[in-house]
């Protein structure tokens, strides 16, 4: 059975505002997971309802928000067990490490990884520059508004859920391909076996058949039973073959 991918946040938002495509709207209206997401989105919209529109963001503010989104994403990934120590921590993890908020596993990796230490130094340099620029622009950034924080967390959870679905689908595809190969090979073998046909079992004979065959074609019918060597006639070779076949244990 094929698993459908769920619509993303923007598509659910379009559904909320009545702008979603019919197929997408049909999915959302029947999907409990999407309906739950829709409820969360409605709550966010309710929070945003009385907020004035956001002023245009400066470049620094955008970078700050982007860093916060990355941090939140990294936190959610770790919570979901998606972070893998076989790879390197990403910039968000390194940023958290710089602030002393990263997991012990990240810290241990960074201590042993020269590449990550270089990345960490770069991030520290950028952070210092940003801090300097912010101070010159008028103080530290204000704390994250609640509704923005909630929206970020919601988006991060949806992203993680999508990653999990895609990984699960990829695994299912691999299994499906493997199963198809195995079934095809098995079917091919069965088909070839059927094409060849089951070899005809040697007819059961006894010594009386050999005696009958010893009188030759005049008495013995020329057929598969008595014509052991298949030369179209009954002769001494066939008689001998019949007698030898008669005494094989398990033949009768």
């Amino acid at each position: 059975m094929e698993e459908r991918l769920h619509p993303d946040y923007g598509e659910i938002e379009a559904y909320r505002t009545g702008e979603a495509e019919p197929a997408m709207a049909a999915h959302i209206s029947q999907c409990s997971e999407c309906l739950a997401a829709l409820e969360e989105l409605k709550a966010v919209a309710e929070l945003l309802r009385d907020e004035p529109p956001l002023p245009p963001l400066s470049e620094q503010r955008k970078q700050q928000l982007a860093a916060m989104v990355r941090d939140e994403g990294a936190r959610v990934r770790r919570e979901l067990g998606l972070w893998d120590m076989t790879g390197h921590p990403d910039n968000a993890d390194l940023s958290m490490h710089l602030r002393g908020e990263a997991d012990a596993a990240v810290a241990q990796h960074v201590e042993q990884c020269e590449e990550c230490q270089i990345g960490l130094a770069e991030i520290a340099e950028i952070a210092a520059l940003l801090k300097k620029e912010l101070a010159r622009a008028g103080g530290s950034p204000s704390p994250m508004p609640e509704h923005v924080d909630q929206k970020i967390r919601f988006e991060a959870r949806r992203h993680a859920a999508r990653v999990r679905r895609e990984l699960r689908l990829a695994a299912m595809r691999r299994w499906a391909i493997a199963a198809a190969i195995v079934l095809s090979a098995g079917g091919l073998l069965i088909w070839r076996q059927m094409e060849r046909g089951t070899p005809a079992a040697a007819p059961r004979v006894d010594i009386v058949d050999a005696l009958i065959a010893s009188y030759g074609s005049a008495t013995a019918p020329v057929g598969a039973s008595y014509d052991v060597n298949g030369d179209g006639r009954i002769d001494d070779d066939d008689v001998d073959g019949l007698a030898r076949r008669a005494v094989i244990v398990g033949n009768v």
């Binding site: 006894d206 010594i207 009386v208 008495t219 094989i248």
Partner: protein
């Protein structure tokens, strides 16, 4: 006249086997002989296959012999009547490896046996008590009609 069908080469006679065994024993070291004497003694016996066709001429027979106990077929020989003097057909593989053997022969001679006739003889090496059972599988008269004579085994002739 149609030539007689080829028959398997007769197995070594028990006397030959016994002589070979004696020569082998003479060549063995003393400790090997001591080990051999510690195992149960084996003996060679003959098992005659007797088919009683009554008043009918026996033109063909096929008999299965099964042993229980520790026994080994070592040879198959023909019977007493000239029509079945040659060793019968048998499966050499079964002789070597199993406790079951099927022997069979036919004859187109005009002089065929009637009544109780030893048609074949099995040579067997026994270790401990052994029992034999026989089963008639097929038999025919000269007119190619099938019939059901009786069969029995005569164990004896210890060598």
């Amino acid at each position: 006249m149609t030539p007689e069908p080829r028959r398997p080469t007769p197995a070594p006679r028990p006397a030959t086997t016994l002589l070979f065994a004696l020569l082998l024993a003479a060549a063995l070291p003393l400790n090997a002989i001591a080990e051999a004497t510690a195992t149960p003694a084996s003996r060679f016996v003959t098992v005659g296959i007797v088919v009683d066709s009554g008043k009918d001429d026996l033109a063909a027979y096929q008999v299965e012999v099964v042993t229980t106990g520790t026994a080994q077929f070592v040879g198959v020989a023909g019977g007493e009547h000239p029509a079945y003097a040659a060793p019968p057909y048998f499966d050499p593989a079964a002789i070597r490896s199993g406790n079951r053997v099927i022997v069979a022969a036919f004859s187109r001679d005009t002089n065929l046996p009637t009544g109780a006739t030893k048609v074949a003889e099995l040579q067997v090496r026994e270790v401990g008590p052994v029992t034999y059972t026989a089963r008639l599988m097929a038999a025919a008269r000269p007119d190619l009609s099938r019939f059901t004579p009786t069969v029995r085994l005569v164990v004896g002739g210890q060598q």
